[in-house]
């Protein structure tokens, strides 16, 4: 089921082509941990998370951010079957990682903010709305296998 219009699909691919997945991933995850400090509960092994600069500069945060955003990026190639694409990751997040799906919504919204910061005026309301649909779809897909 396609949930993006052709125009929205165009906005998403066009912008995503210019995204530095490693940099944006690290920044989005870092900001999640700074803005919503309770999310640090999943990352106790990451070392120094004691201040915004410690978090943003933390190499484990950057590496993990890259991992997460690469998976997200992969999902963008399969917008017609997000649930299928993220089925295994969904099971992992439920059964092994025990992550409350609310966190997927939080991260999705932080990612939107980071994209706005990077792209400025180009991240206009139409492009923004397309990405809100995408992050909601991904969050939904990641929560789909929870039980």
């Amino acid at each position: 089921m396609t949930f993006l219009t052709p125009e929205e699909s165009g906005h998403v691919s066009s912008l995503w082509g210019k995204v530095d997945v490693e940099k944006v991933g690290g920044e989005a995850l870092g900001r999640l941990l700074v803005v919503y400090p309770w999310t640090q509960r999943f990352f106790e092994s990451f070392g120094d998370l004691s201040s915004p600069s410690a978090i943003m500069g933390n190499p484990k945060v950057k590496a993990h951010g890259k991992k997460v955003l690469s998976a997200f990026s992969e999902g963008l190639h399969h917008l017609d079957d997000l649930k299928g694409t993220f089925a295994q990751l969904s099971e992992l997040h439920c059964d092994k990682l025990h992550v409350d799906p609310q966190n997927f919504t939080l991260l999705g919204n932080v990612l939107v903010i980071v994209l706005a910061e990077h792209f400025g005026a180009a991240f206009n309301p139409s492009v923004h709305a397309a990405f809100q649909k995408v992050v909601a779809g991904v969050a939904n897909a990641l929560a789909h296998k929870y039980h």
């Binding site: 903010i113 910061e117 309301p125």
Partner: protein
């Protein structure tokens, strides 16, 4: 949730940097919200919601002015916004979920126009500020 001294400094500095653009940013945040979260339009069936609408501009300025007032009274936001809180509780009755949508769109707008100032720490402080304002505006709902 409490606004620390550092948060208050961040919020004031950010609002200073925004300066006279506050009204425009308010309008843009509303427009973004109507696009991304179409259910929010149900509260504005009496508005022209097209891009550049005078009503959206006017309402954006209203929202920005109220936020500016809160910035000037960070030590007692409930008192500063008491009348607005009554209005939302008894007349407007906007479902609480919608404050989060507008807060998010305000953050997106500010990030896109002021990337230099929008550091992670400032982002956190502004998120807390909007959350505090939202709580105050829904505090008399029941």
């Amino acid at each position: 949730m409490v606004l620390s001294a550092a948060d208050k400094n961040n919020i004031k500095a950010a609002w200073n940097a925004i300066g006279s653009h506050a009204g425009d940013h308010g309008a843009e945040a509303l427009e973004r919200m109507f696009h991304s979260f179409p259910t929010t339009k149900t509260y504005f069936s009496h508005f022209d919601l097209s891009h550049g609408s005078t009503q959206i501009k006017g309402h954006g300025k209203k929202v920005a002015d109220a936020l500016g007032n809160a910035v000037n009274h960070l030590d007692d936001i409930p008192t500063a916004l008491s009348a607005l809180s009554d209005l939302h509780a008894h007349e407007l009755r906007v479902d609480p979920v919608n404050f989060r949508f507008l807060s998010h769109c305000l953050l997106v707008t500010l990030a896109s126009h002021h990337p230099g100032e929008f550091t992670p720490a400032v982002h956190a402080s502004l998120d807390k500020f909007f959350s505090t304002v939202s709580t105050v505006l829904t505090s008399k709902y029941r």
